[in-house]
C-alpha cells in the first residue's frame, strides 16, 4: 500500500488550496512553508487588497489557513525547508529542516507551490531609477502604502499630485529575457490606480501601457471603472526614461495613439513589475528534479489539458511556480494539484495492490 501522505511545499494561496483539498479528501498532509507565516507573497509583500474582488488578504488567506489547521491529519511546518528528496512515486523520502532540526517525512505524492517573486526593476537596466530616485516605486511598494492608508512621495512624505504606472517592467522584453506577459500587472495596476484616486481625489493618475490585458470579467470589474468612474488616464506608449526635474520626475515617452511625443512631470512613478520564479521555485524544482522552462518556472508536462502534472510521476505543481498566475489561477491549480496528488495515491494503491 502506497504512503497516503501528501507533502505540499509552499503555503501561499496555491499551496493552501492544495493542502486543504488533500485534507478535505481525507488524506494526511504536511505543509512545508519556508517563511514563519502562511499566506505567501500577498502577506509577505503586504498587499492592500486582492485583485479583482478587493478582499483583505490577511482576512481571506487567514481564514483559509485556520480552516486548513482545523482539519484532521494536517501538519503545518513553518520556518521549514525541504533539504533533500529521494525515491519515486508513490514512496518519496524527504528531509525537512524544521526550525534548525532535521526531520524525515515519507510521502506518496508531492505538490510544489513555491510561487513567484516580483521582477527586480534594478536588474539589467537602471533606466527607471528604482534604486536611484526614492519616488520611483514598484506595484508591491504602493500596495504596502495603500495598506497603511498613507500614499505619499517617499522623498518628502507629501501626497503625490500626479502619479503614473509604467506597465510591462520586466515582462514582454527580449532584452531582459522575459518574453512572457505576466498576466496580472494590468489588472493590479488598474486596481491600485482606483485605490489611489479614492484615497487622493485631487490626484491625476496615468497608466502607460503597451497593450491593456484585462482578461474576462476584469474588463468590467477593473478597467472600465478605472477609466470611466475614476478617470484614470490610459496612454498607449511606454516611458523610455525617468529624469529628475525641479523636484519632480519627468517621464518621457510617446503618446502613440495621438501621434506625438510627451514629457510629463510626475510626483510618483510606479513600476508595474512582472513575475519571475521565486528562489524557492528554482531551488525546489532542481532538488525534486522537475523540469523547468527557460525562464525557470516549472514546466507543466502535458499542457493544455493537464496543467499541473510535471515530468515526474507523483509530483504536481500549482500556482505561480508554473508561470505568471493570478489568484484565481493559483486557487484553481492548487485545488487541482491537491486532487491529482490524492488521485495518484489511489491509482498507485490499485496498481500496487
Amino acid at each position: 500500500m502506497a504512503n497516503q501522505r501528501v507533502v505540499v511545499i509552499g503555503g501561499g494561496p496555491a499551496g493552501l488550496r492544495a493542502a486543504t483539498t488533500v485534507a478535505e479528501l481525507g488524506r494526511p498532509v504536511v505543509l512545508v512553508e519556508q517563511r514563519g507565516f502562511l499566506g505567501g507573497t500577498p502577506i509577505a509583500e503586504r498587499y492592500a487588497s486582492m485583485t479583482p474582488y478587493l478582499e483583505d488578504p490577511e482576512a481571506a488567506l487567514g481564514a483559509m489557513a485556520s480552516h486548513l489547521a482545523s482539519l484532521p491529519d494536517v501538519e503545518i511546518l513553518l520556518s521549514s525547508e525541504v533539504r533533500s528528496c529521494s525515491g519515486d512515486a508513490p514512496a518519496f523520502s524527504l528531509e525537512v529542516e524544521v526550525a534548525g532540526q532535521s526531520r524525515s517525512v515519507e510521502a506518496g505524492a508531492i505538490v510544489l507551490a513555491t510561487g513567484f517573486q516580483h521582477f527586480d526593476p534594478g536588474r539589467e537596466t537602471q533606466m527607471y531609477g528604482y534604486y536611484e530616485y526614492p519616488d520611483v516605486v514598484a506595484l508591491q511598494d504602493l500596495e504596502s502604502m495603500l495598506k497603511d492608508g498613507n500614499v505619499v512621495r517617499p522623498s518628502n512624505g507629501e501626497p503625490p499630485g500626479r502619479i503614473c504606472f509604467i506597465q510591462c517592467v520586466g515582462s514582454r522584453d527580449r532584452q531582459i529575457g522575459n518574453e512572457y506577459c505576466s498576466k496580472v500587472c494590468c489588472g493590479v495596476a488598474s486596481k491600485e490606480a482606483i485605490e489611489v484616486r479614492q484615497a487622493l481625489p485631487d490626484s491625476e493618475v496615468f497608466i502607460f501601457y503597451i497593450d491593456m490585458r484585462m482578461y474576462g470579467y476584469w474588463e468590467s470589474q477593473i478597467y472600465w471603472p478605472a477609466q470611466e468612474k475614476h478617470h484614470v488616464q490610459y496612454v498607449k506608449g511606454i516611458v523610455s526614461e525617468v529624469l529628475p526635474r525641479d523636484g519632480r520626475l519627468l517621464v518621457r515617452g510617446e503618446d502613440t495613439t495621438m501621434g506625438r511625443p510627451m514629457e510629463i512631470p510626475m510626483d510618483l512613478v510606479v513600476l508595474s513589475v512582472g513575475m519571475e520564479p521565486s528562489p524557492g521555485t528554482r531551488a525546489m524544482a532542481k532538488l525534486l528534479g522537475v523540469a523547468q522552462n527557460k525562464y525557470g518556472f516549472v514546466e507543466a508536462a502535458r499542457p493544455p489539458l493537464d496543467t499541473v502534472g510535471t515530468n515526474r510521476p507523483g509530483i504536481f505543481a500549482a500556482g505561480a511556480a508554473l508561470g505568471p498566475a493570478d489568484l484565481e489561477d493559483c486557487a484553481s491549480t492548487g485545488g487541482l494539484a491537491g486532487a491529482r496528488a490524492v488521485a495518484s495515491l489511489a491509482t498507485a494503491a490499485v496498481t500496487s495492490g
Binding site: 500626479r162 485631487d202 477609466q227 495613439t257 495621438m258 510627451m262
Partner: protein, 239 residues
C-alpha cells in the same frame, strides 16, 4: 476629476497652436464643455480602437477624426480641445455614425456640446462656420422652413441622386398626382400662418437659439428682432 489640469501635459512641440490665447480662457471654455450635463453620458472611456473613424463619412474627405475628439476629451487636454473647437468640430456632419462605439461613447454628441459652447461664447470659428448660412438661418427662423422642392436645381445637388433632373423638370405634374395641398413651392412653403410664426419665434427665444444667433451674427439677430417685434405687439405678448 478636476475639469482641467492646472499643469498641462507638456509636449515637446506646441502641436495644438493658439499659443496667443490665454490659458485661462481655454480652460474656461473647456470647463463649460465638461460641465454640460450630457457630457458624462457621451464619453465613458475610449479604447482608441478607431471604429468611429472607420464609420465616419467626414473622416473620408477631411482631416477629421472623432477618435481624436474623444481622446482629447478623455485626456482633459485643454490646448488640443481648444484647437478642435476652433477647427475640427466644424468638419463633423453630425450624422452620429460614431454611435457604433463598443464602449457606448458618442463622439458626435461631444462635438454637439463643443459646438454649442463655441457658439454661445462667440468663438471666431463658430462665426466663420455659420457665416455662409445667414440667409438660411433667416428663412428657417422667420418661416420655420428653408428648402422647398421647386428649389431643386438639377446640377446643384448631385447628392440628391440621378432622379432629380426628371423630378425638377416635371415637378408641377408630379405635384398634381398628390391630392393633398402641400407646401411644395417657395411661395406656399414660406407662407406660414401668423400664429405659427409667433410660436416659432417664442421657441427660438425661450430655448436661447436667438441668443446664439446674436453671438455669431449680430446683424441677422437685429433683423429677426425687428421682424418679430410688431407681430408680438399685435398679439399682446410681453417680452
Amino acid at each position: 476629476m478636476p475639469a482641467a489640469t492646472q499643469d498641462p501635459l507638456r509636449k515637446v512641440d506646441d502641436v495644438a497652436g493658439f499659443a496667443d490665447v490665454p490659458r485661462a480662457e481655454k480652460e474656461r471654455l473647456v470647463a463649460e464643455v465638461f460641465a454640460d450635463p450630457r457630457f458624462a453620458d457621451y464619453l465613458y472611456g475610449c479604447y482608441e480602437c478607431g471604429i468611429c473613424v472607420a464609420v465616419c463619412p467626414s473622416a473620408r474627405f477631411y482631416d477629421f477624426s472623432p477618435r481624436r475628439i474623444a481622446q482629447a476629451a478623455g485626456r482633459r487636454d485643454v490646448d488640443l480641445l481648444y484647437q478642435q473647437m476652433q477647427e475640427d468640430i466644424w468638419e463633423c456632419s453630425q450624422c452620429f455614425s460614431c454611435l457604433r462605439c463598443p464602449r457606448g461613447n458618442n463622439p458626435g454628441g461631444v462635438i454637439t456640446i463643443m459646438r454649442e459652447v463655441a457658439v454661445n461664447n462667440g468663438m471666431s470659428s463658430a462665426r466663420e462656420a455659420l457665416e455662409g448660412y445667414s440667409r438660411i438661418i433667416y428663412k428657417i427662423m422667420s418661416t420655420g422652413t428653408q428648402v422647398s422642392p421647386d428649389m431643386l436645381q438639377p446640377d446643384a445637388f448631385p447628392d440628391w441622386g440621378p432622379e432629380v433632373q426628371d423630378v425638377s423638370e416635371n415637378l408641377a405634374l408630379w405635384r398634381r398626382a398628390l391630392p393633398p395641398e402641400t407646401h411644395h413651392t417657395t411661395s406656399t412653403g414660406w407662407s406660414v400662418a401668423e400664429r405659427t410664426l409667433i410660436e416659432l419665434y417664442l421657441i427660438w427665444l425661450e430655448t436661447g437659439a436667438l441668443d446664439m444667433i446674436r453671438q455669431v451674427d449680430e446683424g441677422l439677430h437685429m433683423i429677426l428682432e425687428e421682424v418679430m417685434e410688431d407681430r408680438l405687439e399685435e398679439e399682446g405678448i410681453e417680452r
